[in-house]
Symmetry: C2
Subunit: 193 residues, 2 copies
DNA sequence: ACAGCCATGTAACTTGTTACATGATTTT
DNA sequence: AAAATCATGTAACAAGTTACATGGCTGT
């Protein structure tokens, strides 16, 4: 849902061609490690936007190199964009794969929840470490978008880590006063970290 | 990607039919307000899993009411499930719509970033308030999954709020020492909150 | 009698990914 | 001469949503 509007926004800045849009988008989210938009998506999105009348082909440049199909916003496109800005934004309600994995682990008896948590914690710490060293090095020269994205990812990694601690605490609580759960016999808890 | 594996996991617990799977899934994520899985997705997923040989129709019950097509895991399904548990889980790298909205706002000059932040903060506080009162009321009687999901959502809402503060601080910094940005002339910052 | 739950599905559509395919220019 | 970058797209697929369609049983 975001890419569609991002394309409109970038075209509001100035008319652009597909390749340019992709580069601008990637710069905006701080590189492909954060959000790798495939060329295919840009071009198909452009085609769809054109079909919907939100965008139109402005001109075709060709100055040494392949031709560039420049697209521009239509009035309808501008309206759609301002509507987007004026509407609220849902905080993307965490359809988190790990949550599902943990719950399925608890319920199906196929995997040990404590093991899952342990693994995931390691994973998150590793990621966090990678990012914070990255951030420490090149902070001043990086662009705003890049920095903000890093901030965001770090905040959420920390939130996930805090959540894992809470989950563990809650599981411990339950093991002290076991509740009537059918299939899943509680396993012994391995040593912490 | 999650629903597919969730279905496998729930079938590992015991054979089930589509309607039952849906109910179990919804219970697991703590109700439709968190993750509303449509019936259509359950049934199409089951059909795909069957075509892939991970699941097979076990029997058809009919005891007063419509017939229930009971599905069970195949050996291949069990393998897929354990592979899933043994593989790492990416923390769902925040393809957050608000981030894009803010960046496009900054870059396109169409919307005021401070206004966007202000609106979003209000939105998040409201949500947070709704959840914490909800949590305060019925904590002991609720099921584990429900509680964990609430914990998770709250952690991430708080992370988002902290992030908004950081963003504002960074924008203020830039306004004190303006950088060479072409299109977007900085707007006056409206009063906080 | 009607509403609501139980239970199943199909069709059309949207967003996004993967893989393939082409070809020119610039850099090494 | 080869590799990287610029630039465009198509085809097939996967996941998910919306809307539609059907029908029986249960409670008011």
């Amino acid at each position: 849902m975001s890419v569609r509007h991002a394309v409109l926004g970038l075209l509001a800045q100035r008319p652009r061609h597909g390749y340019d849009l992709r580069a601008a988008f990637q710069a905006m989210v701080g590189g492909e490690e954060n959000w790798d938009v495939k060329p295919a998506q840009i071009y198909t999105t452009l085609a769809r936007l054109e079909k919907s009348g939100l965008v139109k082909e402005d001109s075709v440049e060709q100055d040494a190199g392949p031709e560039k199909r420049i697209y521009a916003l239509t009035r309808a496109g501008q309206n759609t964009l301002t509507e987007w800005f004026n509407s609220g934004t849902e905080p993307d309600h965490q359809r988190d794969e790990f949550f599902i994995k943990l719950m399925i682990g608890l319920v199906s008896g196929v995997a040990d929840p404590y093991q899952l948590i342990h693994t995931q914690r390691g994973h998150l710490y590793q990621e966090l470490h990678k990012l914070t060293t990255q951030r420490g090095l090149s902070d001043p020269k990086k662009e705003l978008a890049n920095i903000l994205m890093l901030d965001k990812v770090v905040m959420h990694l920390e939130a996930d880590l805090r959540w894992l601690d809470i989950v563990e605490a809650r599981l411990d609580e339950i093991q002290r006063q076991p509740l009537p759960e059918p299939e899943s016999k509680p396993r012994g808890r391995p040593r912490k970290n």
